[in-house]
């Protein structure tokens, strides 16, 4: 128990730095692809303003560019000053700009990675609240750990209920989808030998459903963290889901704190 305050401090610091990297990458990516948000682009403002409400003043082409630059500045502040009042304000501001980005894209930019990053930033804002009790800071970190675990379990249960995941059919369909840009060395269709796809699918379902064991034993936690990072790095390499790798990497240290708090 005596090591917990130091562990909480280092956990918050690491989460701040990785989350800062994630939001900085998100901002730079959107700045790079801002042509798609311009008046001649796919996500042109006139097609979307009805869903923006009063926030349209921040979501027009030029205003949103300013929002992204502010996001970059806040990311630098959070990485440079974790566990300070400034870090707390930066985390809250980043949660706000992440929400604005989702709104700009009519709900989400990149699926679940938006929600995970928002969860991490919200948790970090609470975990850095000035003049708050340690229990409040802990609550911020444990909230992220709980959502992280839930994200695996929920996804695992959804897959486990579907026969197509057990047969490898679902994974085959995702590998064949052009949008994911699966590298050429990965076989996309295996009509004659579905076994490798079945094994990978069953492995993912097993890992996701067993993720809660990480809360109860440090060795199991190390195993879950290792498999989780490998899994996200794999999906980033195969499916191009780099935002998932960064968002979940920012959340993973919270699980290490959780196991020391609970076990």
């Amino acid at each position: 128990m005596s090591e917990l305050p130091a562990l909480l401090t280092s956990t918050i610091t690491w989460m701040c730095r990785v989350a800062a990297l994630a939001v900085a990458v998100n901002a730079l990516e959107l700045l790079t692809m801002r042509g798609a948000l311009s008046d001649g682009g796919i996500w042109r403002a006139p097609l979307l303003t009805s869903s923006w409400g009063a926030w349209r003043v921040l979501l027009g082409t030029h205003a949103f560019t300013v929002v992204l630059v502010v996001q970059l500045v806040c990311a630098v502040v959070m990485a440079a000053a974790p566990r300070t009042t400034l870090g707390c304000i930066a985390a809250a501001a980043l949660a706000f700009t992440s929400w604005l980005s989702s709104l700009r894209f009519r709900g989400n930019v990149n699926g679940g990675s938006d929600a995970m990053l928002f969860t991490v930033l919200g948790g970090l804002a609470v975990a850095q609240l000035p003049n708050a009790a340690t229990a409040v800071h802990e609550a911020g970190v444990l909230y992220v750990a709980a959502q992280l675990t839930l994200s695996y379990v929920r996804a695992g249960i959804v897959k486990a209920k579907e026969r197509s995941w057990w047969t490898g059919h679902a994974l085959s369909a995702f590998l064949a989808l052009p949008a994911y840009g699966i590298p050429a060395w990965v076989p996309r269709r295996m009509p004659n030998d579905r076994m490798p796809l079945r094994i990978v699918s069953a492995g993912v379902i097993g890992f996701e459903c067993l993720a809660p064991v990480a809360w109860f034993d440090p060795v199991a936690c190390v195993a879950v963290l290792t498999v989780a990072f490998t899994f996200h790095a794999g999906t980033a390499a195969l499916f191009g889901l780099n935002r998932f790798l960064l968002a979940w990497s920012a959340a993973l240290p919270s699980l290490w704190y959780a196991v020391h708090r609970v076990a």
Binding site: I42, L47, G112, A179, P183, N242
Partner: protein, 138 residues
């Protein structure tokens, strides 16, 4: 319809349900209709980008592609669940048309007799194509 509140609620209480596995993912295709002769083949609108090692961390083109695919999948879900006359579905359709126009512009395509797009579900295992929606000639 998406609102600021619904977007916030989705982020505060995420479902963590990443795949709508009951359905195979849809594909958006378009074809040009030349002034003379047969229509061209249907081509995919959301196409993969070349993968580099640094895309593991920074992948703007990939993020744009995935956002475009998310748009197509959302339109597909709305078409099935609400029908094409629903306001949300019409909003998605307008974005999908912008996506198709953007693909035509990138391909530097000539107008000819116009173009069409369609939403299909490709079942690679059964080697079948289910057409969900086919636009009028534009």
């Amino acid at each position: 319809m998406t609102t600021p509140t619904s977007t916030l609620l989705r982020q505060l209480f995420p479902s963590w349900k990443f795949f709508d596995v009951a359905r195979l993912p849809p594909t958006l295709q378009l074809r040009q209709l030349p002034a003379h002769g047969e229509p061209e083949h249907w081509l995919g609108v959301v196409n993969p980008t070349r993968r580099r090692w640094w895309h593991l961390l920074f992948n703007p083109a990939g993020t744009r592609t995935l956002a475009a695919q998310t748009l197509v999948e959302r339109w597909y879900t709305e078409l099935i669940e609400f029908g094409e006359d629903a306001p949300a579905c019409r909003e998605s359709l307008a974005l999908v048309i912008a996506l198709a126009e953007s693909a035509l512009a990138e391909a530097d395509a000539t107008a000819g007799n116009g173009w069409q797009f369609r939403l299909v579900v490709l079942d690679s295992d059964e080697d079948t194509t289910h057409v969900v929606y086919e636009s009028v000639v534009r």
